[in-house]
């Protein structure tokens, strides 16, 4: 579904990604793990179409650099950023509905599905997004992604800054999303969370791929353990 080949990204003279290769087959969840500064967020920002790059990123045959964000979304790709990118002064419902801007057919049904998945969002549907807790904001960000009826979700650190109890809710919701056959690229620093959800893992360090394999293969990899401290 997504193929990254020999990808390099630089911020001025600083190289953030160097020759990265990655394949995300349809229906799978691929985890990208690595320490701070490894280039994980740069990778997903580039896949989301926000950064210039050298090499190739093709999503369903479309070269990302030549495709605008609306077209990517119309083709089923939705990127939930680490910043969450919520509209703080707008209500939960308004935020969710903006997610289906390019695909409003069945919007009300999807809204109900999102509320089924995150009942707390339904309780707060008229509340301003900025007044939500961190966990609820993460739910809203994921919910807004689901409102676009995605086939491929790119998630950047969905577990970041969340209390264990809230993390359980997010994890449960992610499992439900996976059951819908949505392909997921999960960028995570939390190895436990990544191991729980990913079919395959890629370990990044200093902008290069250090390891790549199935979750079972990498679970006991010394390098993976040493980087993540697991």
């Amino acid at each position: 579904m997504l193929s990254v080949s020999d990808l390099s990204v630089s911020y001025g003279k600083v190289t953030a990604l160097d020759g990265v290769d990655l394949d995300v087959p349809s229906g799978e969840t691929i985890g990208v793990i690595g320490p701070n500064g490894a280039g994980k967020s740069t990778l997903v920002d580039t896949i989301g179409g926000f950064l210039d790059y050298e090499g190739s990123i093709t999503y369903r045959g479309l070269e990302v650099s030549e495709t605008d964000t609306p077209t990517l979304i119309e083709n089923g790709l939705f990127y939930c950023t680490e910043r969450r990118d919520l509209f703080g002064q707008m209500s939960v419902e308004q935020n969710l509905r903006l997610g289906s801007y390019l695909n409003d057919e069945g919007e009300d049904e999807r809204l109900e599905e999102v509320f089924d998945l995150f009942p707390r969002l339904e309780e707060r549907r008229s509340q301003e997004a900025e007044s939500l807790s961190g966990g609820e904001q993460q739910m809203l960000s994921l919910g807004r992604g689901l409102m676009s009826d995605p086939e491929f979700l790119v998630l950047d650190e969905p577990s970041i800054g969340l209390a264990p109890v809230v993390l359980d809710d997010i994890s449960e919701a992610l499992t439900s999303i996976q059951e819908l056959d949505v392909t997921i690229l999960l960028c995570e620093q939390n190895l436990t969370f990544a191991l729980e959800h990913a079919d395959r893992l890629t370990l990044l360090e200093n902008g290069t791929v250090q390891r790549s394999g199935t979750t079972a293969e990498l679970q006991s990899d010394e390098l993976v353990e040493s980087y993540i401290g697991g």
Binding site: I73, D85, Q89, M90, R97, Y101, S148
Partner: protein, 350 residues
Amino acid sequence: MTQVDLEPRYVVGIVCFIGLISAPFLLPILTLRQLTAALFLGMFAMSWDYVSGYTGQLSFGHSMFFGIGGYTAAVLNLELGLTPVLAILVGTIAAGIAGLAVGFPALRLEGPYLALITLIAPLVLVQIVNIFPGTLGGDAGLPSPAGLVSVDEPIGILSTIGFETVFVHETIVYYYLALALFLAIYALFYVFTRSYVGSIFTAIHEDEDAVRSVGINAAKFKVFAFTMSGTVGGLAGAAFVHTAGEPNPGEILSIVVSIEVVLVSILGGMGTITGPAAAGIVYYFVRDALQTSSLTIPVLDATVGHISMALFFAIALLVLFFLPKGALPWVTEWSRDILERRSQRSESPS
């Protein structure tokens, strides 16, 4: 009997509406003429708020739209003899095109760069007015074009209810025309800003990158906002010169007009439509009262009229200091507090 528990702000709104409808019966005729002009300033302020208050694209030269509408309509009427209705229509379209032209830089420019473009445009227009004094009247402006409607004879129904003279009848007709336009524009903006489009405008105001991340073409909406704002600003300007004002730079085009509309909208409450509309009307009377005051300020040895703008800006700064969000949001919060206290009182056991 059912008791309707309206929020105080709605009560204020209803009272204002009734007051506006019955103004010809309540106000002296000269004050009614002032109110007619004030309504146009309210419309102009709404047009600024639509683009700047909602999308956050600050326009510091909004007088260009008011001016283009006004000058185009006046010149077409005076030079080519177009009927006022047709002249207003063309003036409105011209201002809409100007809005489109200013909106296009918004595809590439943001923040201060875009604000600078909007600031420069009316300065260029003022120069153009001065370069062609024969056609555009230069600094002194053009003579008044023909009135929107001609009231040459007394109107029967107005005479019956006690209004005398053609002058009074004409004033009343112009007032109701201005009021109808004001209410129509208010309704239009109110509906738009509370619709899905309004949500997207608010989203653009909050975080343009986030808007892009959900696949919304923010630039398209910004161009749309500028075009619609320019069209309405132009309509206000064109109708103004054919009813209550004169086509001269000081009234419809100068940079002071641009600053006034920004200040009025901020004082009223940016992003509310109602606030700038009301503040526009109030400001017109405050400005007029200050300008015509012959009261001497002892230490400065100057009349209030001489330093009216400085006084107004000082008052505005004070208001902004104490009500940084503007008057309407403050009234709204105050109104909610009252309701909350009232409901707490009714819930507490007696």
